[in-house]
């Protein structure tokens, strides 16, 4: 990609993140910036610390050291809700969808819109508004394969489910969207849908971080590649100026060229 997008000021920045579990060092001095409209691929072998890092920046666990900034302001996430409040949205591999509920209900699960009486929110659902917004959001993301948003999630394909989970993540002002192996369980065509969706998010100026094992997809969709190895961020490349071999070498720990 062009030089310019990586020069944009980061919307999210993690500096010197460290985490230990007992005597084992899971993360050491991890520093990474996510920029608006930039797709960052986070790659690395199993156990390299990718998941731990993502858990730290989404508030699932708290780092032992390091600082995080959103829009230049210092933040601390005590729990996932705090991260969400700051616009850090994540879609984990299990998607956290309730199969027996409809698409709309899933998109608004635990952030339901309520009918207001005299300005005070009642427990009654504002189904019309939820439907309008959910429909608009799906259209905006170009998820054309979903026709009936009243359909239950259990009737959807894997790709559609992934799309719903992503659409839910960006429903409320998302600055950063973190996707954990979004195509791991999907076929070719459905992976394509999800990659297109990631493209849309980039166009809208959302910072996206994708954890992936599929290097072909990484090169297709990302603007920068961050390689983790043994709990450290061993290299960060601009995708357009690196080869697959170099990234593999960095993942394996062979002598690589730092960008």
């Amino acid at each position: 990609m062009t030089e310019s997008i990586l020069d944009r000021p980061p919307v999210f920045e993690a500096r010197g993140i460290a985490k230990k579990f007992g005597g084992i060092t899971a993360l050491e001095e991890v520093t990474l910036a996510l920029r608006p409209g930039v797709v960052t691929a986070l790659v690395g072998d199993n156990g390299a610390g990718k998941s731990t890092f993502v858990k730290c920046i989404t508030g699932v666990i708290q780092p032992d050291a390091g600082v995080m900034q959103v829009d230049g302001e210092h933040v601390e996430f005590r729990d996932p809700r705090a991260a969400r409040r700051h616009g850090i949205q994540s879609v984990f591999q299990d998607l956290a969808l309730v199969e027996s509920l409809s698409i709309i209900e899933n998109m608004y699960l635990c952030s339901e819109l309520r009918i207001r009486a005299l300005g005070i929110p009642t427990p009654v659902l504002d189904r019309r508004r939820m439907e309008q917004r959910a429909r608009a959001s799906l259209q905006r993301l170009g998820t054309t394969t979903i026709q009936d948003i009243h359909a239950k999630v259990e009737s959807l394909s894997g790709g559609q489910r992934q799309s719903i989970a992503i659409a839910r993540a960006v429903l409320e002002e998302a600055k950063v969207v973190i996707l954990d192996e979004p195509t791991a369980a999907l076929g070719v065509e459905q992976s394509r849908q999800v990659l297109n969706l990631i493209g849309r998010l980039r166009e809208e100026g959302t910072a996206v971080m994708v954890i992936s094992h599929n290097l072909r997809e990484v090169f297709e969709v990302s603007d920068q590649v961050a390689v983790m190895r043994l709990g450290r961020l061993s290299a960060t490349y601009e995708t357009s100026s690196v080869t697959e071999e170099e990234v593999v070498a960095a993942i394996m720990g062979a002598e690589g060229v730092r960008s």
């Binding site: 956290a96 309730v98 027996s100 509920l101 009654v124 659902l125 189904r127 439907e131």
Partner: protein, 394 residues
Amino acid sequence: MTAVAALGAESRFPQRKANVLVAAMRLQQAPMIIALVVVVVFFQLATGFFLRPQNISNLLVETVPLALIAIASAIMILMGEIDLSLGSVAGFTAALGVASMAHLGWSWEAGLLVFVVSGIAAGALQGLIVVVGRIRSFVLTLAGYLVFYGVQLALLGPSSRIPMPTSPLSNLAFAKLPLWAALTVVALLAAILAYQAVSRWRHRAERPSRLALRLLVPVAALVAGVCAALYVEESGGFPLQFAILVILILVFSFVLSRTVGGRHLYAVGGNPRAARENGIRTGLVRWTGFLVAGGLAGLAGLALATYTSGADSTTGTGSLLLSGIGAAVIGGISLLGGRGSVWGAFCGAILLAAVQNGLNLMALANYLIYIVQGLVVLGALLLDANIRRKLVTQ
């Protein structure tokens, strides 16, 4: 059926016909209604007086405790739990409620509160242990089933029976609504169902033909309700208890389908992990469910106590609990959790109450009644599973 066939013929694609039929089944709890018709015809032919106004009136009253336990079971099953103590809790609240009026001389208003509050307390206590102690509800409520039955016997004392003192409450089971009031309740019910049908149709921007289909349910409810009200008028009027039950079910249906708490209950039952990851306080939701189910069991205790004019050692025992769970499952409350509606449980309760009533009219031996009831549940389950499988493959 002709209306359905006509809708199918009118559609552009032959495949639509099948879709309409499937939609009709989905809408109308079809297997249950077919089963109910079969049951009614059978018992009318077998006894000759099943359909008499007096018996229909009795049947409606007998449905009330069963339906209350069925709704309570439905709530439990919807959130992925089960409560085996509901029958015992009903018996316990009946004993406590009647004792408070008979022994302590409390007013009937205070007695009414005792029924409801003791049921809620029983549910809240068990729910607390399940949620905080991380115990399976199946096991805990099995213990609760024994404990509350023990407390019931203790409250009843050596005579094993406390008669209900005369009060407006003691007559509740036999209180009748005047015709205009019964028709008002029916009209209200039909109007609400019609409103739901129309708003759902408009909401989803469906074809006009779908509106006719969606309106079948409210129209059927209106016709059946008016006929029932006019018919039982001959026996003195429409049972007040049943009217209260219908209003209660309307309220529960609304809360479960249209409020945040209701949807969270479905989410917790459908996929507890996903619910938690989305920030739903699953423990609180489950505890509330237990509490509400307990309250409904308390109301069932009240219905039983007024029906038998007191509490005794058989109140809340027998097949009440298992019929209630059976009614919920027959009514489409999936044992997987998170799927089904209270209307289904209500229809299931009517079906099972009709079977019970008919078998009693036939003066069959007790053992036969149990066996036939069990077989009806089994048959309805098989039919239900079959249709659901078709819905899935469709």
